[in-house]
């Protein structure tokens, strides 16, 4: 397999990503810094579809924050104006008038009500925005993924790609629906509280600011420490997860070798390391709360004392109500700052995830400059080929020309390769100078050792990869001119890795032709020799397959894959015979299925069975990316070259 060679080339980088694996948001590798570009882009998503809503949210947050501040300020009014006033009235023998208080309370009630409504609206709208943005990012990511070239999936481990959909999206969700609104409302509260405090007492505000600076310094120090351990924790998590995954995958081998003890010891070591890092990271993160909280208390006490001193000495016209209100405000001042600090780590982590998501979205998609399309055709009255909307069973390539004319070439299934060179990485050519011709209906077999380039050649025909040099023509048309979707539709493929999807057997076969009737499905299954066993399944064609058809045997999976290809009925087939051991009887059934599939089509087969090879019209013997021998079985045997050695070698006793 070429995968092996590729792996080696990418060895070091592959090793690095591999360890990452799924599980837990990954380390904030780039250090604890906000990434403005990613943030801007994320905000862009919000503004794209939710501009008005976002504006409403913005207003709501302000209203809500102001309502909170008004509440604190009201305390001053309550104590100084109303209670104080009434007490004075009482002291001077008058009947205290409670009606101003009633009025003030009604006014306050209205303000509070506005705040509550604002909070409600803000929350509801934010749900729509955060879920909506999440959905569009998720959908965009998946759509994009579908358009990526195969090489992307070679470069990235499946676990890594998966984690974009799980971890990265999840942290993003939390950030959108919690962190950002909270941080936002915190900022507004801070600003409005700051001004209110200034109005109440400038000296006390100065004191609050000073103590705030101290608080921030301490917080910053601790956050830095905990950040370091959080990074270490993420690395440890990845390591432990990786180890667990590997060991549990090989659990049966562990048993057979009595290897439980060393497996436990190695695990303990990693587990201990994770524990230490997690303990430190969380310990530091945990103390932030109490520290800020109590610094807040301390500040509270100091303000009380200071304010008391000021009030007693009558400095700056301080009154008791001022102190009460100020104390309340100072709490509303430190709390949002605490919140911002706590959200900060999280926002950075989420942005790192968003960055990875955007990296996927920004990947270069598969290029497709093709303009030749595949259309239903019929032979017109004058004997020419005409395009038609009906499904005629006859296909033609529609080839528009620059001059405005259109020519139709009937789809026959003739494939030629001319001096083709190819490398997975630019400077490492793995296929050299490959030339081959396949006439319609011919069967071409590729034979050669692992890594000789068999699979690679077939991957070039359907343009999973693009060639570096040379030409591949399909019915005389350069395949670069054919639209990829149409090219692939004309090619059937049965791969070794069967990849069945979660769904019924019927749905899996229908995958090959979405509008297939039930009869067509049964017919395809019969052709593939799969009908028999499918009928014997508990629910026949409606049996649910999960986990790549885990409940079926390897041979049965293959039969369904053959039926899936058969129903599409393409003129050209690419087959990769299974190497894995199926027993002789099943293999016979599978090969019968394969044989009927090959009948009447141009076939490229990566052959492992001698019977397939012998029946081929032409055999290509590949070695290290070159065709070293070609011809039919008899010719190659008589040449006594590599093929002869192979053929006899297989039977040497």
């Amino acid at each position: 397999m070429p995968a092996r060679r590729r792996k080696k080339a990418l060895d070091s980088s592959a090793m690095m990503v591999k360890r990452g694996g799924p599980g837990g948001p990954r380390a904030v590798g780039t250090g604890m810094k906000l990434d403005p570009k990613t943030l801007r882009r994320l905000v862009g998503y919000i503004f794209k579809d939710y501009k008005l809503r976002f504006f409403v949210v913005f207003v709501c947050i302000i209203v809500n924050a102001l309502a909170g501040v008004a509440g604190s300020l009201f305390l001053k009014e309550l104590i100084d104006v109303h209670i104080g006033g009434m007490l004075e009235a009482k002291a001077s023998g008058l009947t205290p008038d409670a009606s101003p208080l009633v009025g003030a309370l009604i006014k306050m009630g209205c303000i509070y009500l506005a705040g509550i409504i604002a909070a409600f609206l803000q929350q509801r709208i934010m749900v729509t925005i955060s879920q909506g943005v999440q959905k569009s990012i998720r959908d965009e990511m998946f759509e994009k993924m579908q358009r990526l070239p195969i090489s992307y999936f070679d470069r990235n481990t499946h676990g890594d790609i998966m984690s974009h959909y799980t971890n990265d999206i999840d942290t993003l969700r939390q950030m959108l629906s919690q962190s950002i609104p909270q941080a936002f409302s915190s900022v507004i509260t801070i600003v409005s509280v700051f001004f209110s405090m200034c109005i109440l007492s400038l000296p006390l505000t100065g004191f609050v600011i000073a103590s705030l600076v101290v608080m921030m310094m301490i917080t910053g120090k601790i956050a830095g420490k905990s950040g370091k351990f959080f990074v270490a924790q993420q690395t440890s998590i990845a390591e432990v997860n990786g180890y667990i995954e590997e060991m549990i995958n090989g659990q049966k081998v562990v048993k057979v070798f009595n290897h439980e003890k060393p497996a436990k010891e190695a695990f303990d070591e990693l587990n201990e390391e994770l524990y230490v890092n997690a303990r430190e990271a969380n310990g530091f993160a945990n103390i932030l709360g109490p520290i800020n909280n109590n610094l807040g208390h301390l500040q509270y006490a100091l303000i009380a004392v200071l304010g008391g001193v000021l009030a007693i000495n009558g400095v700056g016209g301080m009154k008791l109500g001022d102190i009460a209100a100020f104390l309340q405000l100072s709490r509303s001042f430190t709390m949002p700052i605490n919140q911002i600090v706590q959200q900060f780590n999280f926002i950075i982590m989420a942005l790192a995830g968003a960055k990875r998501i955007f990296a996927l979205i920004d990947e270069k998609p598969e290029v497709d400059d093709g303009y030749v399309t595949l259309v239903n055709a019929k032979v017109g009255a004058n004997g020419d080929i005409e395009e038609t909307d009906e499904h005629t069973g006859m296909w033609a390539w529609k080839h528009p020309h620059g001059t405005g004319g259109v020519t139709y070439t009937p789809l026959k299934g003739e494939v030629t390769m001319n001096e083709v060179d190819f490398g997975y990485v630019e400077d490492k050519i793995v296929l050299h100078d490959v030339t081959l011709y396949a006439d319609p209906g011919q069967k071409v077999a590729f034979v050669g050792s692992t890594g000789a380039g068999k699979t690679t050649i077939t991957n070039l025909i359907n343009r999973f990869y693009d060639i570096a040099d040379g030409k591949i023509r399909y019915d005389g048309i350069n395949i670069n001119k054919i639209k990829k979707a149409d090219l692939r539709r004309s090619l059937g493929m049965v791969l070794q890795a069967t990849n069945l999807f979660t769904g019924t057997v019927r749905e899996n076969i229908r995958f090959g032709k979405l509008d297939a009737t039930d009869e067509e499905i049964v017919a395809a299954a019969k052709l593939a020799n799969a009908d028999d066993f499918i009928r014997r399944l508990p629910q026949g064609y409606d049996t649910m397959l999960t986990e790549n058809g885990a409940q079926l045997s390897q041979g049965q999976r293959q039969l369904i894959a053959i039926a899936r290809a058969a129903i599409a009925d393409p003129p050209v087939m690419i087959l990769d015979e299974a190497t894995s051991s199926i027993d002789t009887r099943t293999e016979e059934i599978v090969s019968k299925g394969m044989d009927s599939l090959m009948n009447g089509r141009t076939v490229f087969v990566i052959a492992h069975r001698l019977s397939t090879i012998k029946n081929s019209d032409v055999i290509m013997v590949l070695e290290q990316g070159r065709i070293i021998e070609r011809g039919n079985h008899e010719k190659l045997i008589s040449e006594k070259g590599r093929y002869y050695k192979l053929y006899t070698g297989a039977f040497e006793k």
Partner: protein
């Protein structure tokens, strides 16, 4: 369930108890602080007949500062012990689960999928750990704070405190209704997430198929549908949850207004309340509401982690069904003789679906036995009974003259080396992998085993030889090389019985023959059981077992079977006709390349 989990707390019991104590200490301080505030205002600022008493202010201020420091210390200590307790608990949970899995028998392993075991050990543990920390630090703190604050406010003024009595039930009912609505939706959402992830997983691994069939748009449609469902459900759940904050504020603000009005009246008209007391009351009101909010948060978290806790317990509860016998188990396997006596085996007890039945075979020590049969004929099952990877349902398997159930399991498995059909190499060097067979193996021993398995040649061709790094699952060596490394690893054990379960399928016939020849010459006393699809791999064995439908249908030498066994003959002939595999031969030639 909770008891089961708590067993993993162990050495973190002390910190687990200390954490809530510290939290209580912090709470007490936080309750005292507003009290002192009252004193400060009433007797300090307003004291001395309204002129202010500097001494009281300083005294109370000092007391306040001391309380803050104590509270700080408590909070600090609680933070540290809380982290230690919960992370330690998680460590122990992981360890207990992992150890438990190590003790699983094959039957236990079959019951859980690998992916689910991994999630249980990772994500689920994290959820439980977070919930544990939450409970230790906040679940204790919040209700105590709540109660303290309530008591304090009642002490200050009973009438005003009745406001809380009115507000709290409203809040509680509101929260309860919200949770009631939200919980089932969240459960559904998590299931939908599983579906979504499954679609992504299948697409990532099946991208070639999707592209080959030009089904990108079809898959996108499928994805959109699920993604839309999640959007709908999640939005619904969160929109219901969105009632939470306004409800809180409604109660908070309502309470404030009520207290303001009543408080003002009490101060002015009744004179039963001081201004300082009113301020303290308002502070308590805030604390009560804050803690109610905390409690609702904890409630959500704990319900969410409940599912995880259940999944963890499933692993911890799983009892390994294969254990060494009690008392003094046999600690030596005399020789490699094997006997199956009336063996019946079913994978699910009581299912009546016997994978093996009426097995009666006797194998002499040192014999080479081939085993052949179609898919589902239970070849692997048969040999897995020998090292007690599964236990027989009826009858007995006798190794070296003793029932396998009489041996200490480690002794038995050390004597029986098995190369599994689905075999794995582990990330590490070739040497690391070989050492699985024998932990203190010397280089000579390794070379010896590799020579036997015909692996020495290609290993030496690697630039780093025996120190070549093998990637997870042996992804950087070919199938045939991997199989030979696995055989060498098994040989390292110097076993009395060697079982190869279809372990040379990717090795070319010539090399395969060389391996068998080496076995014959170098380890003649080891009993060798070889399962194969290729008839050439077994035809030179001393005797060959033909299995069909879980029964031994024929047992004899190649020549005898050619005479007597229809199945054997059929397989032989079909393979001679040329459905033989050649690509491995090609691989071999390719490797020998330019010789």
């Amino acid at each position: 369930m909770i008891k089961k989990l708590l067993r993993s707390v162990r050495e973190f019991k002390l910190v687990s108890v200390l954490t809530p104590l510290f939290m209580i200490g912090e709470v007490v301080m936080e309750v005292i602080i507003p009290l002192l505030m009252t004193q400060l205002v009433d007797n300090g600022i307003e004291g001395n007949g309204g002129a202010g008493d500097m001494n009281v202010i300083l005294l109370m201020g000092g007391a306040l500062a001391v309380c803050c420091l104590i509270s700080l210390f408590m909070g600090f200590a609680g933070a540290k012990t809380g982290a230690k307790a919960s992370m330690g608990f998680a460590r122990n949970l992981r360890k207990d689960m992992y150890y438990r899995i190590q003790d699983f028998s094959f039957a236990n392993i079959d019951k859980f999928s690998t992916a689910s075991l991994v999630t249980r050990l990772t994500t689920d543990v994290t959820r439980v750990q977070d919930a544990y920390q939450m409970i230790l630090r906040i679940a204790v703190r919040a209700p105590i704070m709540l109660i303290f604050s309530l008591i304090m406010s009642f002490i200050i003024n009973v009438e005003l405190s009745l406001v809380f009595v009115a507000v709290i039930p409203v809040l509680a009912v509101g929260l309860f209704v919200i949770m009631k609505f939200v919980h089932p939706v969240f459960e559904r959402v998590f299931k939908r997430y599983d579906t979504l992830n499954n679609v992504v997983k299948e697409n990532v691994s099946g991208m070639r198929v999707v592209k080959a069939f030009v089904r990108e748009d079809y898959e996108i449609g499928k994805f959109h549908e699920i993604s839309g469902d999640i959007y709908k459900d999640f939005s619904f759940a969160e929109k219901v949850l969105a009632f939470n904050a306004p409800l809180m504020q409604l109660c908070a603000y309502g309470g404030m207004i009520a207290i303001s009005w009543l408080g003002a009246n009490l101060i002015v008209f009744d004179g039963t309340l001081t201004t300082g007391q009113l301020m303290a009351l308002i502070t308590y009101a805030m604390q009560i509401l804050m803690n109610l909010m905390m409690l609702s948060m904890i409630f959500v978290m704990v319900t969410m982690s409940r599912a995880s806790a259940e999944r963890i317990c499933e692993v911890l509860d799983e009892e390994s069904d294969i254990k060494s016998p009690a008392g003094a188990p046999a600690s030596e396997v005399a020789n490699g003789a094997i006997e199956f006596r009336n063996v019946k085996f079913e994978y699910k007890k009581g299912s009546g679906k016997y994978a093996l039945s009426d097995i009666n075979i006797s194998i002499r020590s040192g014999e080479t036995i081939g085993i052949i049969g179609g898919t589902g004929s239970s070849k692997s099952t048969l040999v897995q009974l020998i090292p007690r990877l599964y236990d027989v349902s009826e009858g007995s398997v006798i190794v070296g003259g003793k029932d396998v159930r009489e041996y200490d399991i480690e002794t038995l498995r050390d004597a029986v080396a098995m190369v599994l059909q689905k075999n794995t190499l582990f990330s590490g060097t070739i040497k690391d992998n070989l050492m699985w067979g024998k932990l203190d193996a010397t280089d000579e021993e390794m070379t010896e085993a590799c020579k036997l398995a015909q692996a020495d040649g290609f290993i030496r061709e690697f630039p780093e030889g025996y120190d070549t790094y093998i990637e997870q699952d042996g992804n950087n060596v070919s199938g045939g090389q991997k199989q030979r490394l696995c055989i060498a690893r098994a040989l390292m054990k110097h076993p009395k019985i060697l079982i190869l379960d279809d372990s040379t399928s990717a090795v070319d016939t010539a090399t395969d023959a060389k391996i068998r020849q080496a076995f014959r010459e170098k380890i003649p006393d080891t009993t060798k059981l070889i399962i194969a699809q290729r008839i050439s791999s077994v035809m030179d064995a001393d005797r060959i077992i033909v299995l069909d439908g879980g029964k031994v249908v024929d047992f004899g030498t190649h020549d005898e079977l050619m005479q007597s066994s229809a199945i054997y003959r059929e397989v032989y002939e079909s393979q001679q006709k040329g459905s033989e595999s050649v690509d491995e031969a090609a691989a071999a030639i390719g490797e020998r390349g330019d010789e």
